[in-house]
């Protein structure tokens, strides 16, 4: 009688595999105790978003080790940063803005493992249209290692915010036609205009070469000539960089500016804005990092979200310059900045 141990080993093997699958940490959960290592790829140094991000971990007593990679508004630096990240891999990569995020993770249907990060979880912030730009996968699909926090209020809410201040039939938009998120935002606005009864007067820059700061004032003057009621500043890095040029051109032509992002009102001279507060966007992103690295949830299972509350900002100095004072009812809930 021969007795083979093979079936016993097979059985043991199966049991061990089951035990490992049950007790092993989930995909990206941190296996070693110690601070969470996070590489932060930023557009223009640290902003309030990062302050909120840090504050979340401090308040929840979660130790973090943050490594900052500042592109200084230069996307061509991203490949070198990715190489650096690969040499000393962190637990997670944090990216700021549409341009950087797109360069780090690629589009959902065109990922290049050689150029994009695919083996580390990535959490992005300040991407205004993650779906339109292909950074997020369409509904029903997900990206295995990427999730993030969007920061733009829904477009109808933005238009209502403008109209709560003053009547608006013609919306002037100066934008960089070389930025995907700006192009898709203007397309969305144009479509929304048909539903909500306003016309988008678009002034694309950079249609024949890189746009320059000097292109902005004539574009604004042209919009004023066409009868724009207000200027719209969307999620556009180029306009963001030269926001003062745009608002000054607006003042010169009697046009106020509305902004969908916070800095253009808080640090610039846009007259009003319906915005996500940057600090809260940072906190939302930090909560997603916690879910991935502490709770062991896969980024694929964490939805891309935006905040559900927005701040109405009014810059009174700009209102005064234009003699377009805010209505009384807005003063009850708007944050008025001098």
């Amino acid at each position: 009688m021969t007795f083979s141990l093979l079936p016993v080993f097979r059985l043991l093997g199966i049991l061990v595999a089951i035990a490992v699958s049950i007790f092993a940490p989930a995909a990206y959960a941190q296996s070693q105790p110690g601070p969470l290592k996070i590489a932060m790829v930023l557009w223009r140094g640290e902003t309030n978003v990062e302050q909120g991000f840090r504050a979340y971990f401090d308040e929840n007593s979660i130790p973090v080790d943050l490594t900052i990679y500042d592109t200084a508004r230069d996307l061509s630096r991203v490949p070198a940063i990715i190489d650096q990240i690969r040499k000393d891999p962190p637990d997670l990569v944090y990216t700021w803005g549409t341009g950087i995020t797109s360069a780090v993770v690629g589009k959902y249907d065109a990922v290049d493992p050689a150029q994009n990060i695919t083996d580390l979880p990535v959490v992005y912030v300040m991407v205004s249209s993650p779906w339109k730009t292909g950074i997020a996968a369409p509904a029903g699909q997900s990206r295995p290692n990427v999730t993030g926090a969007a920061h733009i209020a829904p477009l109808p809410a933005q238009i209502n915010a403008i109209r709560a201040y003053r009547p608006m039939d013609k919306l002037g938009v100066v934008y960089n036609s070389r930025e995907d998120n700006s192009v898709s935002n203007v397309a969305d606005l144009t479509e929304l205009g048909r539903e909500m009864g306003f016309e988008v007067l678009a002034a694309p820059l950079g249609t024949d070469g890189e746009p320059s700061q000097d292109d902005i004032p004539p574009a604004v003057a042209e919009l004023a000539r066409k009868g724009a009621d207000i200027l719209y500043i969307g999620p556009d890095n180029f306009i963001g960089n030269y926001r003062d040029t745009l608002t000054d051109a607006g003042f010169a032509n009697g046009l106020a500016a509305f902004s969908a992002t916070e800095l253009e009102v808080r640090d610039g001279h846009a007259m009003l804005g319906l915005v996500s507060r940057y600090e809260l966007v940072g906190r939302l992103a930090a909560s997603k990092v916690e879910q991935i690295l502490i709770d062991g949830i896969s980024p694929a299972d964490i939805p891309v979200e935006t905040l559900d509350r927005f701040s109405y900002l009014i810059r009174l100095s700009s209102a005064r310059k234009l003699k377009l004072y805010p209505p009384l009812s807005l003063l009850d809930y708007a944050e008025v900045i001098e």
């Binding site: 009174l316 005064r320 003699k323 004072y325 805010p326 209505p327 009384l328 009812s329 807005l330 003063l331």
Partner: protein, 668 residues
């Protein structure tokens, strides 16, 4: 001793040789109308006087209240202005004052205008009215006869700047608004009180005066004709009773001499069933306004409160729907009195249990018992009416019972709301249980023994049932009249009407008043409509007229969905149902005469009740579905079209299908 068909109203009784057709007359003649008119006018004058005095007394308090409210509103406006000025917005450049006033007016409809003025009285900002209109209003001399109550608030400003003033104008008519609003409630209480008094007086006078006098007349006519075969058997202990007892002894003496054997003559107290129907529905309806909240509270420990309340109410309705046809099948074997006693006892038990229910399961049990009790008492009353009436007055008998039920439907929630407000929900259910228990005691007195249980009719054979169900005229009645009537009632009146009226800005009280109109019109017109039906002996015509009125009302409300037109539509529905519902019952028995002759009325009524319940359950579902698909107003139009098609089919088919064959009712 033979029970007369219907003692209270008897259209087919031959005319009296002494005074025309007195028995068939619906209303009495003579000075009673002058007295009624006098007492009503006196009552109204007294009520109006009391209301006016109350208004005068309340006016001072109301004025203070309005001034306080105006002060708060002025401060709100003032703070907004000060905030804008603090931010550096120049006074004359302030934007959006009108919008803020508009928002304030949304919360306070009495506020007519608001303005910011400078010390010279010039209007800087205005809202509610134009600057010119406000200036005119402010120039009017102050006093109690001006159109506005003006409130002013100074807003002191920094040195070197002129002070400004917030000015508010409230409508002076607002001082009377709480009183005029209450007048509607006073009117409703007035109507309910009148209805309850009428109910009580009707019972007392009929039992103690009308019936004994009517029997006495019959006995004396018999004596006049020298027959001496009747004795007065309508026992009362008052003067009429004592007088007729003496007459009885004289008749007995004379009868012995002439060799006759007189029998005691009495008439069925059909009016009693109206009071009994009123009581069993009142017992249930008292707690109607507090049921959802109370059930939610009791069931909240087990499941979501709203869902719990829904489950409990659904179980109650299910039990009513199941018990009604089942009880109809056994009504003749059990007898009206026994059945009523059982039902009222179950209802008492169910209502007491509900008051002390501690969780969802016992609450479901108690409500199920109440449901069975409700259905049983309903069937008992109906069977009593059917036993005590014949073809010539059945519709009137049914209408009498239905009007008792409708009266309770109206009075119950109104009285229950007051009871609940003062004593809490538990006591409201206990009050219901007390009424149900009183009904048990009253039933012995109000339901005559002679219509208690009879020999049960033979159980119908399958073939007989098939023949009854296959009776095409009965099918037409059920499909195109009975089901649509209940479907429209529950779908339109209880679902769409409140939804549309509330959506269009009517208050709950205003909506309640419109719905109440249904019951009022039905009560006021029910008896006359039934009398007309019985007189013409054309129940199907009455059913058709009812359907036509329903369709007209619904199409009108769907076409022009205004508050007033909804009230008209609801009133038409009340008239339509009062005309149609009692006639449907009579028609169903008439159409299946061959079946009921051999097997009793139970199975026919069971089928009719089941069909009605199905229609009643389908109504809200259909209304909700249509609302989702086409919106509420179009749903009313579709209901109207459905009513029109139903009545058209009914009219076309009821007269032209072959009449029931004689041999269809028996075994073939």
């Amino acid at each position: 001793m033979t029970p007369s068909a219907n003692p209270d109203t008897k259209p087919d009784t031959p005319a009296s040789p002494h005074g025309g057709n007195i028995r068939s007359r619906l209303f009495p003649k003579g000075t009673i109308w002058i007295l009624l008119l006098f007492s009503t006018i006196s009552l109204c004058i007294a009520l109006v006087g009391i209301s006016w005095r109350a208004a005068e007394l309340a006016r001072a308090d109301l004025q203070t209240e309005i001034r306080e409210k105006a002060g708060i509103e002025a401060r709100v406006l003032g703070e907004k202005i000060e905030n804008a000025l603090r931010l550096g917005i120049p006074l004359r450049e302030i934007v959006g004052f009108e919008t803020v006033v508009y928002q304030l007016r949304n919360g306070d409809p009495d506020l007519v205008f608001a303005a910011i003025t400078d010390k010279a009285g010039d209007i800087l900002h205005a809202g509610g009215l134009s600057s010119d209109e406000i200036a005119t209003a402010l120039k009017a001399p102050s006093g109690n006869d001006t159109a506005y109550i003006v409130t002013r608030l100074d807003l002191p400003r920094a040195e070197g700047q002129d002070d400004i003033e917030v000015v508010l104008g409230h409508a002076r008519a607002a001082l009377m608004r709480p009183v005029t609003d209450n007048l509607y409630d006073i009117a409703i209480i007035f109507i309910i009180t009148l209805a309850l008094s009428f109910e009580l007086m009707l019972l007392v006078l009929t039992v103690n005066v009308a019936l004994p006098v009517r029997v006495a007349r019959k006995v004396l006519d018999n004596v006049r004709d020298r027959k001496f075969t009747l004795l007065h058997g309508q026992s009362t202990h008052d003067e009429i009773g004592q007088f007729m007892e003496r007459i009885n002894s004289l008749i007995n003496t004379t009868a012995k001499k002439v060799g006759t054997h007189p029998q005691r003559e009495r008439e069925v107290k059909l009016i009693g069933v109206r009071m009994l129907a009123f009581m069993f529905v009142l017992a249930e309806e008292l707690a109607r306004p507090i049921m959802p909240a109370f059930f939610s509270q009791v069931t909240s420990h087990s499941i979501d409160g709203q869902l719990g309340a829904g489950v409990v109410m659904a179980v109650h309705l299910l039990m009513v729907a199941l018990a009604m046809p089942i009880c109809s099948l056994f009504q003749e074997q059990v007898g009206s009195l026994r059945m009523y006693l059982c039902g009222a006892f179950l209802a008492t038990l169910g209502l007491i249990g509900t008051a002390f229910a501690g969780g969802i399961w016992d609450l479901v049990l108690w409500r199920a018992l109440s449901g069975i009790g409700y259905a049983t008492t309903f069937v008992a009353c109906q069977s009593y009416v059917l036993d005590a009436t014949n073809d010539s007055n059945r519709t009137q008998g049914t209408a009498m019972m239905v009007s008792g039920i409708m009266l309770a439907d109206i009075c119950g929630p109104a009285i229950g709301g007051i009871v609940a407000g003062h004593f809490g929900p538990d006591m409201t259910f206990i009050a219901g249980a007390t009424i149900a228990f009183l009904a048990v005691l009253l039933a012995f007195f109000l339901m005559d023994n002679m219509v208690r249980g009879k020999t049960p009719p033979p159980i119908p054979t399958r073939a007989a049932l098939r023949a009854m169900l296959g009776n095409r005229r009965l099918q037409v009645l059920i499909l195109f009249a009975a089901i649509p009537a209940k479907l429209i009632l529950s779908g339109f009146l209880y679902y769409l009407t409140p939804m549309i009226l509330l959506q269009s800005g009517a208050t709950t009280a205003e909506t309640g008043r419109v719905i109440m109109l249904y019951g009022l019109v039905a009560i006021l017109t029910g008896w006359a409509a039934a009398k007309w039906t019985d007189k013409n002996q054309n129940e199907t015509r009455a059913v058709g007229i009812g359907g036509g009125l329903t369709a007209a009302g619904l199409l009108l409300a769907g076409w022009l969905p205004e508050y007033a037109l909804f009230a008209v539509a609801v009133a038409l529905l009340g008239l339509a149902q009062a005309t149609s519902i009692p006639a449907q019952l009579s028609a169903s028995l008439k159409l299946s005469k061959d079946f009921t002759k051999d097997h009793g009325t139970g199975p026919v009524l069971a089928v009719l009740r089941l069909a009605e319940r199905l229609g009643g359950a389908a109504g809200p579902l259909l209304a909700a579905g249509l609302t989702l698909l086409v919106g509420t107003t179009h749903a009313v139009l579709i209901f109207g079209a459905f009513a029109a098609v139903s009545v058209l089919c009914f009219e076309l088919l009821i007269g032209h299908v072959p009449a029931e064959q004689k041999n269809e009712g028996g075994t073939k």
